[in-house]
Symmetry: C2
């Protein structure tokens, strides 16, 4: 059985090379266009938690695609509505709150919708600190309570008050709405808290947005946060990172999602240059950034975005800590909150914020 | 052309699934044995140096294998001799020394062959410090001058005296000879230098050996180094890390090398349990380890060994810094010493050692 698979791969490899040989405009013998990787069966890894193994096993039998790409604003709205049914979102948030108890209050700051997530009485560890959270969801999903789950995890694991920004999104409000809304909330938060006592961060699009907000605060000469958390940041909306090729069809969460994400990114950019650092912060200037903690996994579709940001921070002389989890796919630490890896990840974030935020 | 490739991949995927469905002993519908990844063409990444791009392009047209696996001691000797022709090794070392000038002296310490690599006069930055270097080469190659190149790079980039241990190896001297020889040299070095002023490390098998030596020093209750450098450590000779599957045929240096490395590991283990922490230190106890810096790349066959060691160090409360370079294969930072990534990597090592070693 295995030998058949191996045999098939070799045929695929040979066919691939000979096919490439015909496409002279694209490739010639001396300069290969890239590396041809044969088809493989990736075993469920042994040295990770049961929870992560189960997730990998389940994803392996799921369809290898995020679905067809919406083409119009209404199709985008329909696709999001399908992913985020209000009843299911509410149940999901209640389930998370049951395991990770916090108080959640909906409100507005500077006219922007926010959720304030407070640790339970007694669990609060640092009353003069706060964390501004920007949710993920490829800049097209995660509105309202659908963007709350990681805010809850951060409040629970760090003992800090978290202000989750329910920023405006496409198709109605493309870039720079998300950046502007986050900056507006930031300005309100630092009227009550010393900026050095406040962290800022998020995961995926939220990780990228957090980095973009710091770039924008630098432009505006506004005070910067005391520390940044960039969880597997979508820092390059052109998806030019190498892991978008290497980990395509490897990542459990974003497998086969390259075109889908690119389309979402184009909706977000709304005609602006995708390489604008406020859209794709990996192309920005990281000098004078606050200390930054970055998380990713070896199977993460955005592993490369994460490590490229880490390297650019280090080249700019910034204190930046990178944590890469074995066999984790995109944002597994947030979506598998019961796993030991998730607790370990948020413990690193809590330690990092505690070390770098003012008191 | 591209569409044909994509089409072929879809066929491969479908075929793969249906073939798996027939092999009930290995797989059933509810519990997939793993994730089937279709064949892909990995483009040369855009956001890395010209040197790294060239290396990736060259490797893509090289045979995708380390060659046939030697079966007898004489076949191992012949394979090593083929890789390491004395004339070529000498030329290689001279070329490295020309670009990264240092003084090299061959000698013995505690009866073990060593090379002492000193920075040039004026380039020495820390006379009371030293670095004990253990070379890589899968525990079967890198003897004599063939193990010198990274020792030269470390002496040059850190300004420290480097003692490179020419430890005994299989087929003549399997485990624990390499550990014993390194411990013997360590004991000699700390007769002249404070242990807290001395670093220890290496790349690949050398990275794994450095970790094993610390585990052994703990067993012997001997003083530990002030800091450790584990460059893409071969810390699991059973190759159970997930990247040995994900990055197989992706890594430029070790592509298709899994069986070859496992065979080399068995020669090294010489009948001992491959999961013995002194052979595969990822299975060891990392409590009380010195501060450790780890390097790897997103295409590294041993990415998982590196990040697993990092996580276990962190879980043991050890200060451990991880650096992952975009699209780097196994040990590219050492084998592409002219690349900006290499200089960046050794700069991180120099900063880390300078911060953590005593003065």
């Amino acid at each position: 059985m295995n030998m058949k698979l191996v045999g098939m791969c070799l045929v695929t490899l040979t066919l691939g090379y000979s096919m490439l040989g015909c496409a002279d405009a694209y490739h010639n013998e001396s300069t290969p266009a890239g590396r041809l990787v044969p088809s493989r069966l990736l075993p469920v890894p042994s040295d990770v938690s049961r929870e992560l193994q189960d997730s990998i096993r389940q994803a392996a039998s799921a369809p290898d695609s995020l679905g067809s790409i919406p083409a119009t604003p209404d199709e985008w709205r329909a696709a999001i509505a399908m992913y985020e049914k209000p009843e299911q979102v509410r149940e999901h948030v209640e389930a998370i709150k049951e395991k990770f108890p916090v108080h959640v209050t909906a409100g507005t700051m500077a006219g922007i919708k926010v959720y304030v997530v407070n640790p339970m009485a007694g669990a609060e560890r640092s009353g003069r600190r706060a964390f501004v959270y920007v949710h993920g969801g490829a800049y097209i999903s995660g509105a309202g309570e659908a963007g709350l789950d990681e805010a809850i995890l951060i409040a629970y694991h760090t003992g800090m008050k978290v202000i989750s920004v329910d920023y405006r999104m496409p198709p109605d409000s493309p870039f720079p709405a998300a950046v502007d809304d986050s900056v507006a909330v930031w300005k309100e938060v630092i009227r009550e808290c010393k900026p050095a006592n406040v962290g800022l961060g998020g995961t995926s699009a939220g990780g990228g947005l957090a980095l973009a907000v710091v770039l924008r605060l630098k432009e505006l000469k506004l005070p910067l946060p005391g520390a940044i958390y960039a969880g597997t940041p979508w820092a390059d909306l052109t998806n030019s990172g190498d892991s978008t090729a290497v980990n395509d069809h490897v990542d459990s969460a974003l497998s086969g999602g390259n075109e889908w994400l690119l389309a979402a990114g184009r909706w977000y950019a709304g005609g602006h240059d995708m390489r604008d650092p406020l859209i794709s912060p990996v192309f920005g200037d990281f000098s004078k950034f606050p200390p930054t903690i970055l998380l990713t996994g070896t199977r993460d579709f955005l592993l490369s975005d994460t490590v490229r940001v880490h390297r650019k921070l280090r080249l700019a002389g910034v204190e930046a800590n990178l944590h890469v989890f074995e066999a984790m796919s995109h944002a597994d630490y947030a979506t598998l909150p019961d796993s030991p890896e998730s607790r370990e990840a948020y413990r690193e974030i809590a330690l990092f914020l505690d070390k770098h935020l003012g008191r």
